[in-house]
């Protein structure tokens, strides 16, 4: 496997008044992997992830995407660079249809005069592509692509959000607590979706509190503590209680993990 990180951060700092959210934090995402980011509440993992997806601008430090330095000032810029984020609240518009939601902010216009001057949307193309993307991820239990998102179940909504990220993310997909609001069956479905996305070669950053889910799908686990990366561990070599112990400071991680 190519070991150049897809997404790398070095020495990120972010303060909110007197609160230090990020204290010289580092981050590495390797190609084709699922990297879980775990940490106690207030450890700064959500600030880290927001810095990576452009929702927060770090005070200092640098971020590189495929070796090129990037400075995102908004989530839109990160998206243009190929980083798609599935937010915890999903960022879907409940009253709009599935197709509308998938193309929100990047609508396709009809070719020629009608699209150029009358700015007419090419609905059939958007519906066709949306249907294709959902079937690719095995989500075609959703029958009607023009159904309002609010009529879908929690898992189906998550599916739409993941499909949107997978369809447009060319470099990285970031998923923030994707299973937090879901039942057992629906969580399983989302984990399968993540493995599908990985199979298609896209690396995933997974932020989760759910240890069994993290240990099931992650290739590596980034443990965040006190605003910085404490260590990166291989889930096959450590147990869940080890991870929790590192996370809370009950146990000091071995040197090998610290060097990662």
């Amino acid at each position: 496997m190519n070991d150049t990180p897809v997404l790398q951060a070095r020495g990120l700092n972010k303060r909110y008044g007197r609160v230090v959210a990020l204290d010289n934090a580092d981050f590495d995402l390797l190609p084709g992997e699922i990297l879980a980011v775990i940490g106690d509440n207030g450890a700064g993992k959500s600030t880290l992830v927001k810095a990576l997806c452009g929702a927060v601008i770090p005070d200092s430090g640098r971020i590189e995407l495929n070796g090129q330095p990037v400075h995102f000032r908004s989530p839109i810029e990160a998206r243009v660079a190929g980083i798609e984020t599935v937010y915890q609240n999903l960022a879907l518009s409940p009253a709009l249809s599935i197709a509308d939601n998938m193309f929100l902010g990047r609508e396709i216009r009809k070719p020629g005069f009608v699209g150029q001057w009358l700015r007419r949307l090419d609905r059939s193309a958007m519906q066709r592509i949306a249907r294709e993307k959902l079937s690719e991820l095995g989500l075609m239990t959703i029958q009607n692509i023009n159904q309002a998102v609010e009529t879908l179940s929690g898992g189906q909504r998550q599916g739409v959000a993941v499909a949107r990220a997978a369809a447009f993310g060319s470099r990285v997909v970031i998923m923030d607590e994707p299973t937090a609001a879901l039942g057992v069956k629906e969580s399983r479905r989302v984990l399968e979706l993540m493995l599908d996305v990985k199979k298609r070669g896209l690396p995933i950053v997974l932020i989760s509190h759910n240890m069994p889910h993290v240990f099931e799908v992650a290739d590596r686990i980034h443990i965040h503590r006190l605003g910085r990366r404490l260590c990166v561990i291989d889930p096959k070599q450590y147990t869940m209680s080890d991870a929790v112990a590192f996370m809370t400071g009950a146990k000091v991680p071995p040197e090998a993990a610290l060097a990662a």
Binding site: L92, S93, A95, L96, D100, L104, G105, R189, E192
Partner: protein, 372 residues
């Protein structure tokens, strides 16, 4: 992959069985109500449509010869035109979960700017008219900038600008009205929207068609302006990306922003567009009253909100339609006209409109609960 799909299909089947078992506990009535709720959720404009139909049927029975006549319908249409135009502007704002209390003030200010500049200051109407349109656009953009940049609630912002635009109106107009004959002499173009238009004569003259069902209809060009405007805004809302962004911004602004929509720019565009439409309403207003009166249209603000709400657009943003607003304006017009022709006093018209507003919002709340 195929195993996954098979597994998920069985899982889905299991879920389906579960919901069906739950539903069987319900009474069959409850099922029918659920289906009605789902239907209304999908076609929200059907309620105002049926209310309008109901109104027409009731008043046709109550006041048969007076109400159900093309001439009377024409009158209702002329009466509701201004409110419908303002309602189109108000719909855009309310779709973004905002409210605009200044639409009436913008309209009157623009009518004064157009009329006074042309008649009193003798500026050619070719300049005075665009100046009025520009004035509306500017008022709207000011609203939008304050809402987005200072992050104040639209209610407060437009309450303030209502007063400000009202003051500017008094300053520029010096509280002087412009008489119809002065307007006719100096700027007949501004009165064009009040010009009468008989569809029957039009079709028989130009195309030689003898469409007798059009006999007796007396429209104004203002009503045509209203219909064209409504079509343009319908197109923007339903066929362009801006329209989708307006709905998304009103539905859930945070989600819209995270999905990559520039919600601030969308809001400024919406307020600016609404201001521009208010200037169109000013043109229609001049046509309707013949001249310019700084005191005209005092109730226009609330009437426009009434039309939007009765038309099924949600005050919480993100759902509603232009067609609904047009029907909403017609409902108010038909009820007022019908009650008057049935011999009831004015107070019962206001009573009925009040009831309609409360019923409309109740139904909206109920439909919104579909996902719960």
């Amino acid at each position: 992959m195929s195993d996954d799909t098979a597994g998920s299909v069985t899982a889905e089947r299991g879920l389906k069985g579960a919901t069906e078992a739950l539903a069987s506990f319900d009474e069959s009535d409850a099922g029918a109500i659920r289906r009605l709720q789902a239907f209304l959720h999908q076609f929200p404009t059907s309620i105002p449509f049926f209310v309008l139909l109901l109104g027409v049927v009731i008043f046709s029975i109550a006041a048969p010869d007076k109400f159900f006549a093309p001439f009377n319908f024409s009158l209702v249409l002329q009466q509701v035109t201004i409110i419908a135009v303002l309602g189109v502007a108000q719909t855009l704002i309310i779709l973004t979960a905002g409210i605009d209390l200044s639409v009436g003030a913008i309209m009157i200010l623009c009518s004064v700017v157009m009329g006074r500049t042309a008649v009193v200051y003798g500026v050619p109407v070719l300049i005075a008219f665009p100046l009025g349109l520009l004035c509306g656009l500017a008022c709207g953009v000011v609203n939008g900038l304050i809402v987005t940049m200072l992050r104040l609630p639209p209610f407060i912002v437009t309450l303030g600008t209502w007063s400000i635009f009202g003051a500017l109106n008094v300053w520029y107009s010096q509280s002087e009205t412009i008489r119809q004959q002065d307007m006719e002499a100096a700027a007949p173009f501004l009165q064009w929207t009040g010009t009468i238009f008989k569809p029957y004569d039009f079709f028989s003259k130009t195309l030689g068609l003898d469409w007798t069902f059009l006999k007796g209809w007396v429209l104004t060009y203002g009503s045509l302006v209203m219909l064209i405007l409504a079509f343009v805004i319908w197109y923007v809302l339903n066929r362009t990306a801006l329209g989708r962004h307006i709905y998304a911004t009103g539905d859930d602004p945070d989600a819209a922003r995270l999905a990559g929509i520039n919600t601030k720019r969308t809001l400024i565009a919406v307020y600016g567009l609404a201001g521009f439409i208010c200037a169109i309403a000013a043109w229609v207003l001049i046509g309707r009253i013949g001249g310019v009166s700084p005191q005209a249209g005092q109730t226009a603000n609330l009437d426009s909100i009434t039309a939007v709400v009765i038309g099924g657009t949600s005050l919480f943003g993100g759902r509603g339609s232009i067609v609904g607003t047009l029907i909403g304006a017609l409902i108010v017009g038909v009820f007022r006209n019908g009650l008057a022709l049935s011999g009831l006093e004015l107070l019962w018209q206001d009573f009925a409109v009040g009831v309609l507003i409360i019923v409309a919002v109740t139904i909206d709340q109920w439909i919104r609960r579909i996902s719960a």
